[in-house]
Structures are given as structure tokens and as C-alpha cells.
């Protein structure tokens, strides 16, 4: 079998429970061992029944399907961030099999697909609908709805695994990170970025028990009003005071990005923050080697499986 194309990517899907290869029967994938069925809805294999604790991501990525994708922005901002957070260059991933654990709308898969990687992007949320729409024309990308903690693959499947800005939104960042490593081939690289325990991330963590309870649509309407209002008045004493206790996004990548990023920063149920030392210890515990911080972010880290 050719090691490229969507058919090949489909062939890598396995039962999340017993890890048996799945048979395609009509619009379902069926486990031959226990006859468990996983439906393919709107072109997306589904290994979960709902979006569980990540409903805010379902909302935000289907509202901002293309806001952060370079292909639609006509710039290289996401690719640049991806390079610096993972240390990967195009030649590292060309022809390689990569898992994007927490694909969202696909801003980083967009870059990897352009580089020639074969990418399987999974997400627990209905962001997969947006990702599927963004990549339906690409044969080297497969999107599936699945839980990072219960992956539908056999161990040692991927040449590389990336998870940028995702694991801190799970109930246990360390456990979910370490759960990814067995799916890496020996000699493969895993690269992650998690929120650092510094600056505005610390402040935001205090807000999460309150802001994550606001209905998504209401909070989003508020962000659409407040972010442009606050950005226009950043020099006023009132907005400065608000900013110091409620930091909102001002990344210079456009207003839509800042509205999305502010919503994204306050709406998720889980918001882990971690030190570089803590992250490095997770990598060491599971025996990864060549551990390093590839760029300017303290808590972006990569390592190789022996």
C-alpha cells in the first residue's frame, strides 16, 4: 500500500479500546474484535459521542474557521509560530506521518500540509467540522474527532507528534502529554507548547472558574464589543487598570485574531499553567532524549523517543 493519501491515513485508524485495525463498512468503521462501530459523519470518523468538556472550542473554531490559517490570511504568521514553538523545518516533516493532537481549525496542520507532511489531526471538539472544511481538498490530511486520552491508533504509529496550546486544556496536562508518547515511533520527535506559569497566564487562571461558566455565545458577544473598545483606549487609566486584572489580547495580528484569542484565553474549562522545569521533568520521566526548548517560548519543548 502507498504510504501517502487519505486511504493510507484511514488505514492507520484503530479501535481506541483494543487497538485492532478497523474495517470500513458503509459510513462506519467497525472493530472486528467486538463489533464496535465508529460512524463517519460528514467525512469525519467519530470516536467520541460528544465534545465533553471542550464545548467552547467547538464554538470558537466554527466561528473563526479561517482567522488563524496562513492560507486564508495570506501571511506566514502561524507557520512562523509553528517553527519557533516546535523547531521543525519543512525538510524535517516532508513525507513524514504527523499527529496534530488538538487540531482546532487547523492553523498548524495548514503549515505542515504545505510542507508535504501526511497529517492526521484529531480534536475532541466539533472544531473538526471547521478543520475538515479547511482541508477537504487535501489528500495528505485526515481529520478525526477523538480524545487525546483515548487515541484511535496503534502504538508507534507516528514519525512526529505536535500539540501546540492544547494539553493545558485537558484535566491533567502531564498525564495527557505522557499518554501521547507511546504513539511515537522510536526515533520520532514530539513537540508541545503549554501555558507558562508567568505573567497574564497566572492572572487568567484565576478568572477561569468564573469566565468558563458564561454561555459561549454571550461571552463571545462581549469579547467582540470589549476587545476593540479596550484596544482603542489602552492609554486610559480605566482600561490600563482593567488590563492589569483582566489582560486581553493585543498580538498585532488583526482584530479578529485578538477577539478570538481573548475568548480562547478565558472560556475553556481547564487552564493549566506550568514551569519549564516541570515540563522538562515530564519529558525525562518517559525517557525522551535530546530535550530542548526550540524557540523563545519557555514552555515549548521537544524531545526524541529512543
Amino acid at each position: 500500500m502507498s504510504c501517502t493519501g487519505r486511504g493510507f491515513l484511514y488505514s492507520l485508524l484503530a479501535c481506541p479500546i483494543c487497538k485492532s485495525s478497523l474495517n470500513r463498512v458503509g459510513e462506519s468503521l467497525v472493530c472486528p474484535k467486538d463489533d464496535r462501530r465508529f460512524p463517519i459523519l460528514r467525512g469525519i470518523p467519530r470516536f467520541v459521542e460528544s465534545d465533553a468538556y471542550v464545548d467552547s472550542f467547538s464554538f470558537e473554531w466554527n466561528t473563526h474557521k479561517t482567522t488563524q490559517l496562513d492560507t486564508f490570511r495570506n501571511d506566514g504568521s502561524s507557520e512562523d509560530i509553528f517553527r519557533k514553538k516546535t523547531g521543525f523545518r519543512p525538510e524535517d516533516l516532508d513525507g513524514k506521518l504527523v499527529l496534530d493532537a488538538g487540531i482546532g481549525a487547523g492553523r498548524f496542520t495548514d503549515a505542515m500540509a504545505r510542507w508535504g507532511a501526511n497529517v492526521i489531526g484529531i480534536d475532541l471538539s466539533y472544531a473538526v467540522e471547521a478543520a475538515r472544511e479547511n482541508f477537504r481538498h487535501l489528500d495528505n490530511v485526515l481529520v478525526a474527532q477523538a480524545d487525546i486520552g483515548d487515541l484511535p491508533f496503534k502504538p508507534e504509529t507516528f514519525d512526529a507528534i505536535v500539540s501546540i496550546g492544547v494539553l493545558h486544556h485537558t484535566p491533567d496536562t502531564k498525564k495527557y502529554f505522557q499518554g501521547l508518547v507511546p504513539y511515537l515511533r522510536h526515533g520520532g520527535t514530539i513537540a508541545i507548547w503549554v501555558y507558562p506559569a508567568e505573567g497574564e497566564f497566572v492572572t487568567r487562571k484565576q478568572w477561569i472558574p468564573f469566565t468558563s461558566r458564561i454561555p459561549d455565545r454571550m461571552f463571545y458577544q462581549w469579547c467582540r464589543w470589549f476587545v476593540p473598545y479596550g484596544q482603542r483606549r489602552l492609554d486610559s487609566l480605566l482600561i490600563k487598570s482593567i488590563y492589569s486584572i483582566f489582560p486581553f489580547s493585543n498580538q498585532g495580528l488583526g482584530l479578529e485574531n485578538d477577539i478570538l484569542d481573548t475568548f480562547d484565553g478565558y472560556s475553556p474549562r481547564f487552564h493549566g499553567i506550568h514551569t519549564p522545569q516541570e515540563v522538562e521533568a515530564w519529558f525525562q520521566e518517559v525517557g525522551l532524549v535530546d530535550i530542548r526548548i526550540p524557540g523563545p517560548w519557555n514552555t515549548s519543548m521537544r524531545g526524541v523517543r529512543l
Partner: protein, 142 residues
């Protein structure tokens, strides 16, 4: 009719969420979960009565990426305790992005800066090394 309903929904959302966040902010401040305390408030008040600080940056260190750090007097009110009034100048020109996140300073640079605790975290306008680019950096409270 539909657009009127949408406008009403939007206004209700803005009002209700603002009210809710104000209550939440009061709780977070009073329980000291976020760093604004009466002590800091009085410090802020005192700082407002004192002459505004200004000075040149003569010593600095590379932090990470495009970010450099220089120490400032501890008496100044920074963004970590109530909203800095500090402006950073490069050869007399005000740099464009105060109150930036430290990750944005490290990654994007381009004149972003933050006054945090007793230091200013900053980047030069062209992401060159401010210790070597021959430009003069100064700060002034406004």
C-alpha cells in the same frame, strides 16, 4: 425584525457579562486572588503624588528571543500591581506597544514592552540587540 432581536441580544450579553465580570473582579481582588491589594492601592496613590520618574537605560540583559530586561526602581507602579504609567523611548521616539505580553515581546518584538514588577521587558523597534545597536533607550512615567 431579526436584526433588532440580534441587537437586543448583543446589548443584553454585553450588559450581563460586564456586570458578572465586575462582580467576579471584586471577588478576585478582595480575596487577593489577583494582585491588587489595598497596600498596592495606597502605593499607587503615593506614587501618583510623587514626581514622575524618568531615566536612561544603561544596563540591560538578554532575556529570551527578542526580549531584553532592565531593572527599574522598585517604588514605581508596574503592570503587575495596578497599571504602569511608564513609556519607553528609543532615540527619543516612543516605542509603540506598552503593556504587551511577555511572550509577544519575546516572539514578535518590534518595540513591544512591559513594565512588570521592578523591571522593563522590552524589544527594540527592529528587533536588534539594544545593547549593541547604538540606540539610546530611556523611560519616563507620564
Amino acid at each position: 425584525m431579526r436584526s433588532i432581536l440580534q441587537t437586543i441580544e448583543k446589548l443584553v450579553s454585553i450588559f450581563a457579562v460586564s456586570l458578572y465580570l465586575t462582580v467576579a473582579a471584586s471577588f478576585l481582588i478582595l480575596t487577593r486572588r489577583i494582585p491588587v491589594s489595598p497596600q498596592k492601592f495606597s502605593r499607587k496613590l503615593l506614587a501618583a503624588l510623587l514626581p514622575r520618574f524618568q531615566g536612561e537605560i544603561l544596563e540591560l540583559a538578554h532575556e529570551r528571543g527578542n526580549c531584553y530586561v532592565a531593572l527599574l526602581p522598585k517604588k514605581l507602579i508596574s503592570d503587575s500591581n495596578g497599571g504602569s504609567r511608564l513609556k519607553l523611548f528609543e532615540d527619543g521616539q516612543e516605542l509603540p506597544y506598552p503593556h504587551s505580553s511577555h511572550d509577544d515581546i519575546r516572539e514578535l518584538g518590534a518595540g513591544r514592552y512591559s513594565h512588570w514588577n521592578d523591571a522593563v521587558y522590552f524589544s527594540s523597534s527592529d528587533n536588534s540587540d539594544p545593547a549593541k545597536n547604538g540606540k539610546r533607550y530611556s523611560v519616563r512615567e507620564i
